[in-house]
Homo-oligomer: 81 residues x 2
């Protein structure tokens, strides 16, 4: 089973990396770029034999407690198969 956890800054949090990328793209002539926000994702392979429901609970726990800083970040869990 494969899960993907997306972690991104909350909408209200400034994203300096994204702003830097936007600035770089504009200076390269890409003037139609209005905003860039950067995030990260984790592709997680779960050993065969795990039950789907149990795996969903575990991924949610991992995303919430380990992969995300809840003060400034949001997460989303998606199963790829």
């Amino acid at each position: 089973m494969k899960a993907r956890v997306y972690v991104s800054f909350k909408r209200t949090v400034l994203d300096p990396q994204g702003q830097t990328v936007r600035g770089a793209l504009r200076s390269l002539g890409h003037s139609s770029i209005a905003e860039v926000r950067q995030g990260k994702f984790f592709d997680i392979d779960i050993a065969p034999g795990a039950e789907r429901e149990q795996a969903q609970r575990e991924m949610d726990q991992i995303a919430r407690e380990v992969l995300t800083n809840p003060v400034i970040e949001d997460y989303r869990v998606e199963f790829l198969d």
Copy 2:
């Protein structure tokens, strides 16, 4: 228009960040985690009025030439609307 560019290490490239996360998860008791690979994504807002086909070409160029290191990384472009 909104595009998302996913950038991840090529399959053949070692991902030390992902391995560190896997190690941390295992030490926390998540023994069913077989592998973790980390990637990043860029949410790009394109100013209104752009044509879809032109925007697709531009996003592909941006992903290839600016956001990705082609020696070690792959990318994928997705439009969210």
